[in-house]
C-alpha cells in the first residue's frame, strides 16, 4: 500500500465560520471529532458526514470532508445508502434528540436493526434549540418550555435504551465536557464493525443551560458519573467508595457503599457483551454510566448484502434489470369501456346505418383539452366527413337511392359550379315525400330540398356548431370553404361524439 497517512486536526477543519451560540457544547464535540479522525489512518476523502436538521446538523459544513446536510430525520437512511454502495467509506451520522427521536425515530430504528456499519453521534441537549426552545422527546418530566409552560407530562426517551432496543451493536454514552473520554469512545466506535451509536450529553447554553450540570460540573461529576471499563467492577465516587450491585428484589442495579457490608469483590463487573447488563445501565441516572455500555460483533448489513449479491451472481450470473422488471406479474393498463349499470334490454335495429356510423365513430380528432380549447377549436379540427352530393335537377328516386346506398341521412345539393344550393335529408323524405301521392321518377331534388341551408365555414368554432344544432334542431350541418363549396357534413352524432371524446 501507499505511504502512511499523516493527518492533523487542521486537515479536518473547513473554511466555514462556525455558527453555534458561543458556549454551546457542539464546539467541544466538533473539536473532538476533528482530533480523533487523524488517529484512524483513513484518507480524508474516505470520510462522509451526513446530518439531518437541527443545530447539530450544521456539523458537516465545519468538517473538511464529504458531507450532506440532508433531510430532517433521514440522515441514517441516506447514510445507509452511502455505506451500502461504497462500503470502504467511513460514514458518520450527526443528529440530535429531535432529529433522531422525534421525526427520525423510525429511521434510527432501522439503521439499528440492520446493523449498518455507521457511526451515529446523537447530540442530546434535551431541547429543540434551532427552533428556540421547545420540548424534545428526551426532556424530563416537568420541563417547562415554550411548548410546555406548565411542565412536561411526557415520559422521556433514553437514547441509549432506544439504540439497544433497535439492535445497535455498539452503544456508548459520553458528555461534551469530557473531551478525552469522548475522543476515545469515538475512536472505538470508528473501529467497530456494525452500527455504533454514541449519545453525547450536550449543553444548550441558550435554551436549556445546565441540563446535564449534575454530570458535567467539576465538583459534582466525580460523585455522579460512572466510568465504565470492560471487566472492571462498576465503582464510582470521588473516593471510589460506591459501586453497583444487582438488586435481586428490585430487578435492577442498586448503589452500595464499599466498606463494612460490601467489599470491592461484591461489586458487579461491567460486561459490555451482556445486553441485560446494558439495559439495566441504560435506565440509571445516578450514577450516570459513561463509556461503552454495550459492544458485540454481529454480521453487518453491508456484509450480508454484498455477500448475497456475490452468491447469487455466482449461481445465476449477472442479472438483467429489464428482465427483472418484466419477468412476471406485469400488465398494461388500458382504458376500458365504462360499465353500464342500468339495465339494457332489447335488440338492435338491424336496418340501421352501421357502416356510416362506424365511420363516424372513427372520426379522428386532435387530442386537445376541450374545456380550454373548445372556443378555439374549429370544424376543421372535427374533420367533417366528406359530403355525398347531388345535383338539383337529379330525380328524387336517385336521391333516395344514394341515401340508402351510403346509409346516410342527408345529401348536399350542389350546383354544377359546386356551390351549395340546398340540403335534402331523411326528415324531408318523411315530411314531404312519404305517404304522398308522388312518383319519385318524375320529381327532382330541388322541389323537395331545403334551399339556402345554414352552413358553417370550416373555420367556425365547434361551439358555434353546438349552438346551431341545439337551437335550431338541425341534425345535419353542411360545412363549406371560403368559396361556398361544400367540404363536409356534421351530424348531431359526430358532434356529440367529438365532444365526448375530448371531455
Amino acid at each position: 500500500m501507499a505511504t502512511e497517512i499523516k493527518l492533523t486536526r487542521k486537515d479536518f477543519m473547513s473554511d466555514q465560520t462556525v455558527r453555534w451560540c458561543p458556549g454551546c457544547g457542539d464546539y467541544a464535540i466538533l473539536a473532538t471529532v476533528q482530533k480523533t479522525l487523524p488517529r484512524l489512518g483513513i484518507p480524508k476523502e474516505k470520510f462522509v458526514f451526513v446530518s439531518g436538521i437541527g443545530c447539530s446538523s450544521r456539523f458537516p459544513y465545519y468538517m473538511d470532508t464529504y458531507g450532506i446536510h440532508s433531510i430532517h430525520g433521514r440522515a441514517p437512511t441516506l447514510a445507509t445508502g452511502i455505506k451500502l454502495s461504497n462500503p470502504d467509506l467511513s460514514v458518520w451520522v450527526i443528529t440530535g434528540d429531535g432529529d433522531a427521536l422525534s421525526i427520525g425515530g423510525n429511521h434510527i430504528l432501522h439503521a439499528g436493526r440492520r446493523n449498518v456499519d455507521l457511526n451515529i453521534l446523537l447530540f442530546n441537549n434535551r431541547i429543540y434549540g434551532l427552533t428556540k426552545g421547545q420540548l424534545s422527546p428526551t426532556s424530563p418530566v416537568g420541563t417547562k418550555t415554550k411548548s410546555s409552560p406548565y411542565g412536561s407530562i411526557e415520559r422521556p426517551l433514553y437514547p441509549v435504551e432506544v439504540a439497544l432496543a433497535s439492535g445497535a451493536t455498539f452503544v456508548a454514552r459520553t458528555i461534551d465536557v469530557l473531551q478525552k473520554e469522548m475522543g476515545e469512545i469515538m475512536y472505538q466506535a470508528a473501529l467497530h464493525k456494525g452500527l455504533a451509536f454514541i449519545e453525547i450529553m450536550q449543553n444548550c447554553v441558550i435554551f436549556n443551560n445546565g441540563a446535564w450540570f449534575d454530570y458535567s460540573d467539576r465538583k459534582k461529576r466525580a460523585d455522579n458519573d460512572l466510568f465504565l471499563e470492560a471487566g472492571k467492577p462498576m465503582v464510582f465516587g470521588k473516593n471510589r467508595d460506591k459501586g453497583l450491585v444487582l438488586d435481586e428484589e428490585q430487578g435492577g442495579f442498586k448503589v452500595v457503599e464499599i466498606g463494612e457490608e460490601y467489599s470491592i469483590e461484591d461489586i458487579t463487573i461491567h460486561d459490555p457483551t451482556s445486553l441485560e447488563n446494558a439495559f439495566l445501565l441504560s435506565q440509571l441516572d445516578y450514577p450516570m454510566p459513561l463509556g461503552i455500555i454495550y459492544q458485540v460483533t454481529k454480521p453487518t448489513y453491508c456484509e450480508g448484502m454484498w455477500g448475497q449479491i456475490q452468491q447469487v451472481k455466482a449461481q445465476k450470473g449477472e442479472g438483467d434489470l429489464h428482465d427483472l422488471y418484466f419477468n412476471a406479474d406485469t400488465w398494461e393498463v388500458t382504458a376500458e369501456e365504462e360499465e353500464i349499470k342500468a339495465e339494457v334490454r332489447g335488440q338492435v335495429d338491424a336496418s340501421l346505418d352501421e357502416a356510416y356510423i362506424d365511420e363516424l365513430l372513427g372520426v379522428e380528432a386532435p387530442e386537445a383539452d376541450l374545456a380550454e380549447q373548445l372556443a378555439s377549436m374549429t370544424l376543421h379540427d372535427l374533420k367533417p366527413k366528406a359530403p355525398i352530393t347531388i345535383r338539383p335537377d337529379a330525380l328524387m328516386d336517385h336521391a333516395l337511392h344514394l341515401m340508402r346506398e351510403h346509409g346516410i341521412g342527408a345529401l348536399l345539393v350542389v350546383s354544377p359550379d359546386r356551390h351549395l344550393m340546398g340540403i335534402i335529408t331523411e326528415a324531408d323524405i318523411l315530411d314531404r315525400v312519404a305517404g304522398k301521392d308522388i312518383d319519385l321518377h318524375q320529381v327532382t331534388v330541388q322541389e323537395f330540398m331545403t334551399t339556402e341551408p345554414v352552413a358553417l365555414p370550416l373555420y367556425a368554432s365547434v361551439l358555434e356548431a353546438v349552438h346551431f344544432m341545439t337551437q335550431r334542431r338541425f341534425r345535419h350541418l353542411p360545412v363549406v370553404d371560403e368559396n361556398l363549396h361544400p367540404v363536409g357534413v356534421i351530424s348531431s352524432r359526430d358532434l356529440a361524439e367529438f365532444l365526448i371524446k375530448h371531455l
Binding site: E337, E338, I340, K341, A342, E343, V344, R345, G346, Q347, V348, D349, S351, L352, D353, D358, L370, A371, D397, L400, M403, R404, G409, I423, T425, A427, D428, I429, L430, D431, V433, A434, G435, L440, T450, T451, E452, P453, V454, P457, A460, L463, E464, V466, H467, T470, Q471, R472, R473, R475, L477, L484, S491, S492, R493, L495, A496, L499, I500, L503
Partner: protein, 156 residues
C-alpha cells in the same frame, strides 16, 4: 374532465328526452306517418297497452316506406323495429351514450320497469346538456360566413 364526470353523474331523466311521439301498435304505417308529419317528430315509439313494443324512425321511412306505397296500409308492427334497446331510469347520460356508440343506434328509449315510456334519449339530449355548460353565443349577430339561415323548421 368535469363535463365528463357530469355526464357520468347526470341521470338520463334530468335530460331532454322529448324527441319522440307515441303511436299505438294497432296503427297502420300511414297513421304513423301522418302523426310524425303533424307533430314534426322523427321518432315514433310504438306502444301496446301502454308498454313499449317497437320503434319507428325517419330512417325506417327512408329505407322501407318512401317509395313503397304498399307499405302504407300495413300495420306498423310489420315495419317497426320490435323490442328496441332501452335503458331504465337508473341510467346516466354516459351509460346512454355508451349504448348508442356500442349498438350503433340513435335512439334509446328510457322505460319504467313496467315497460311504460319515460322518454327518448338522442344525441340532441346530450348536445343540449353540453350546450348548457358552454357560454351562449348570439348566433345571428356572429359573423358567420355565409350568413344565411333557413327560416323553415326542417333544414339540415
Amino acid at each position: 374532465m368535469d363535463l365528463l364526470a357530469g355526464l357520468k353523474q347526470e341521470s338520463v331523466t334530468e335530460m331532454d328526452l322529448s324527441d319522440y311521439c307515441t303511436v299505438d301498435a294497432s296503427a297502420s304505417v300511414r297513421d304513423v306517418l301522418t302523426q310524425m308529419q303533424v307533430t314534426h317528430c322523427r321518432n315514433a315509439l310504438v306502444l301496446q297497452e301502454g308498454k313499449l313494443v317497437g320503434i319507428f324512425t325517419d330512417r325506417d321511412v327512408l329505407m322501407k316506406v318512401a317509395d313503397n306505397k304498399d307499405a302504407l296500409d300495413k300495420p306498423i308492427t310489420d315495419l317497426m323495429t320490435p323490442d328496441p334497446v332501452t335503458l331504465s331510469k337508473a341510467a346516466t347520460a354516459a351509460d346512454a351514450l355508451a349504448v348508442m356508440a356500442r349498438k350503433h343506434i340513435r335512439n334509446v328509449p328510457i322505460v319504467e320497469d313496467d315497460g311504460s315510456v319515460v322518454g327518448n334519449f338522442t344525441h340532441f339530449s346530450v348536445l343540449d346538456f353540453l350546450a348548457e355548460q358552454f357560454p351562449d353565443i348570439p348566433l345571428d349577430s356572429y359573423p358567420v360566413y355565409p350568413r344565411r339561415f333557413s327560416r323553415r323548421r326542417h333544414g339540415g
